[in-house]
């Protein structure tokens, strides 16, 4: 998929002007955060579980080579196969080889962000294989040729009327006079259209929420049951996943699962949590004959041991974006690639480079809500700051911006001069704005004043008042 993260500003403006998107985002703002809050309130141990979840992931990452080898050993022992892929190219090639080995024509897919990351659908189509997304949201955006706009609700940017229009345009053999006014009807139609595809598919591809080293198993968590039909009915099941999904034991997975659904949808537990280990056993009446795990690196191993290692704890729950004021204003497509919101703002530069995705870590108010709700306590704002620093040291910002930062740095390192300047500027602005009490426009700050007024300073700076108070001995 072609990234458009470079044009974040234009993407964001388009998002702000898109009425349907704004209606959809309003629904999200009142939905996910409230449901998460209620779920967390019901589980007094939630905070303690976050700390444990963090330490499970940290422990696994510190010993990732060991756990990957153990996972492979156990997956092989249960009759599975493991394919290591350094790059998206290698991952796609591994999938194609498996598909070709069984002459696959139709491939059903459960939701997989790794498949999105490597652009799998486009690649399969080019090679004469039809990929069919089966998660309702993924199916809708596949019909619309759009990327997902959210980790767990990929079509969250759409209103039901848009979905109805899409179904009418794409399901041409159905009665054009049918009603599609209700979400219920849309769900039933997707169910009816996709059921034959599940049965016809030669290969089913799912992602993995977790990999369990102890047993060589993959775990998927879904609500629709599409992932289970995808992996149960075809002859071949391929799990597309990445290195950092590992946990050591089932007990560790259970802790992560207690965090996942509550953080994501506010459910106590998702409808379906499925642990898959190898292909069908002798005597089994159903299940795939082959079980493959494609393990993608794509730069993740380089993040270990550095300032972005913490990002590899991410369990893709979407709590950060559900609580992000920037995401809630511009939507997921503005981020221009597969991952959006705060986690996308950190991960996308890691995977595509800061030259491509440098806007994303700048698109933050640093309110810190993302870190507060993260089930594995990823310091997202801190890492966005790291990317800003990296962008600056690699001289990727525009010259005017850099000159401004240099000037600021020079002033900020001279406190006496800084305070004098602030005092002076405060008085000058206070005097200039004394009539109206605010400024409609300010030189060099037109971007800021274009959407709001600048209040005129009144009186003296906090710093000088504080200094005086300290001197007078009145404060503590």
């Amino acid at each position: 998929m072609l990234a458009t993260s470079r044009t974040f500003e234009a993407n964001a403006r388009a998002g702000l002007a898109n009425d349907n998107l704004q209606r959809a985002l309003a629904l999200m703002r009142s939905g996910f955060p409230e449901r998460r809050r209620l779920a967390v309130e019901r589980l007094p141990e939630f905070e303690a579980l976050r700390e444990i979840g963090k330490s499970i992931k940290d422990h696994t990452l510190e010993h990732l080579d060991f756990y990957l080898e153990l996972f492979e050993e156990n997956a092989l022992a249960s009759g599975g196969r493991v394919h290591w892929a350094r790059t998206p190219d290698e991952a796609r090639a591994a999938v194609l080889e498996i598909c070709r080995s069984v002459d696959a024509r139709i491939v059903t897919k459960g939701k997989s962000m790794i498949a999105e990351e490597v652009g799998l659908n486009e690649f399969l189509e080019k090679n004469g294989i039809t990929p069919v997304e089966t998660d309702l949201g993924e199916y809708i955006i596949q019909l619309r040729h759009e990327p997902p706009s959210h980790l767990i609700a990929p079509a969250i940017h759409l209103m039901k009327e848009q979905v109805a229009d899409t179904f009418r345009a794409e399901h041409r053999t159905l009665d054009p006079g049918r009603s599609l006014a209700e979400a219920r009807q849309l769900c039933d139609e997707a169910r009816a259209v996709l059921r034959p595809q599940f049965l016809a598919a030669d290969v089913g591809i799912t992602g993995a929420n977790f990999l369990v080293a102890e047993t060589g198993s993959s775990i998927i968590v879904t609500n629709e049951g599409n992932g289970d039909l995808t992996q149960t009915l075809p002859r071949v099941h391929i799990v597309m996943t990445s290195l950092e999904k590992l946990v050591p034991t089932f007990e560790d997975a259970a802790t992560m699962l207690r965090l996942l659904a509550r953080s994501a949808t506010g459910q106590e537990f998702s409808a379906y949590t499925t642990v898959s280990t190898g292909p069908r056993r002798p005597g089994d009446l159903d299940g795939p004959e082959q079980y493959h795990v494609v393990l993608l690196d794509n730069g993740r191993s380089r993040l270990l041991g550095g300032e972005f290692q913490d990002m590899l704890r991410c369990i893709r729950c979407s709590a950060c974006m559900n609580h992000c004021p920037v995401y809630a204003a511009v939507g997921g497509h503005a981020y221009g690639w597969v991952y959006s919101g705060p986690m996308g703002a950190v991960l996308t530069p890691s995977l595509l480079g800061v030259a491509e995705a440098g806007h994303l870590p700048n698109a933050s108010t640093f309110c810190g809500r993302c870190e507060e709700v993260c089930p594995v306590k990823i310091p997202l704002p801190k890492m966005m700051r790291h990317w800003r620093e990296r962008e600056f040291t690699e001289k990727l910002n525009p010259p005017v911006y850099r000159a401004g930062l240099f000037l600021w740095a020079w002033v900020a390192r001279r406190p006496a001069f800084y305070h004098a300047l602030v005092e002076l500027a405060g008085r000058a602005l206070g005097w200039l704005g004394r009539g109206r009490g605010r400024f409609r426009m300010l030189p060099l700050a037109s971007g800021w004043t274009a959407v709001r007024d600048m209040p005129a300073p009144e009186g003296r700076s906090f710093h000088s008042l504080w200094a005086e108070r300290q001197k007078g001995g009145a404060g503590k």
């Binding site: 080579d65 609700a153 769900c187 080293a213 609500n223 599409n226 289970d228 106590e268 379906y272 280990t277």
Partner: protein, 236 residues
């Protein structure tokens, strides 16, 4: 592929600024895995007696739109199934997991119920399966794949009826997993382990929850009191 494998593993080690772990450390990590110690277990599910565990299971399952019918014995199951199908306007047809644990159910008592044993096929409207365990913590049923318990029964039909024996109700996921470890001692795990919590659902259109996205629209639990001396055995 081997080149990719070696390069990824050596890349990980160089990022972590170390070589391969020494055998002593690897042995410690293996011991951690073998011990598979439990992490924090929510108080909600721990220290419950038998009755409280059953009550929690039922309350949590009903909260996610599963329906629960308690019965006193296997003898009552055919009647309960027939009534449920009639109430829901469903055909009196079942596909049954060919599992010996369901042999105690006297289907002859309801000769009008048409029963087939096997995996689910297209067009099967209602399935009936046993479960491996039920988990009180979130009202979840735990099912495993085997020759006698095909996975398609859990997902293809519109209605899934699960027979849960009271003694199968455990407190937590970890308790269910421990039972599985005992049951599989010396063998491989089953291919699929399904933790199912309520019927299929989606919120993908305007975040409105709709039941029956791709999996079953209804999940009906028949909870059989199989304790030998009812009302006395607590715990277990």
């Amino acid at each position: 592929m081997t080149a990719a494998r070696e390069q990824i593993l050596s890349g990980i080690r160089s990022s972590l600024k170390r070589g391969r772990l020494d055998p002593g450390r690897e042995a410690e990590l293996r011991a951690r895995v073998t011990a598979h110690g439990r992490n924090l277990i929510p108080a909600r599910a721990s220290a419950l007696d038998h009755r409280a565990r059953i009550d929690l299971f039922v309350a949590m399952a009903e909260e996610v739109q599963a329906t629960v019918a308690p019965v006193n014995s296997f003898a009552a199951v055919p009647e309960t199934v027939a009534c449920y199908l009639a109430e829901e306007n469903l055909p009196a047809e079942l596909v049954l997991a060919p599992d010996p644990s369901l042999d105690d159910i006297p289907w002859d008592a309801r000769p009008l119920l048409r029963i087939r044993r096997g995996r689910a096929e297209t067009g099967d409207a209602v399935s009936l399966t046993p479960c491996f365990a039920a988990i009180a913590e979130t009202g979840t049923v735990m099912l495993i794949s085997a020759a006698d318990t095909p996975t398609t029964l859990n997902f293809l039909p519109d209605t899934h009826i699960v027979v849960v024996r009271q003694n199968q109700v455990v407190a937590t996921y970890e308790d269910g997993w421990d039972r599985l470890r005992v049951a599989c001692a010396g063998h491989r795990l089953p291919r699929a382990i399904n933790f199912i919590t309520g019927p299929s659902r989606t919120g993908d259109i305007e975040q409105r929850i709709e039941l029956g996205a791709h999996g079953p629209r209804r999940l009906h639990v028949i909870l059989v009191d199989d304790r030998e001396e009812k009302g006395e055995h607590e715990g277990q």
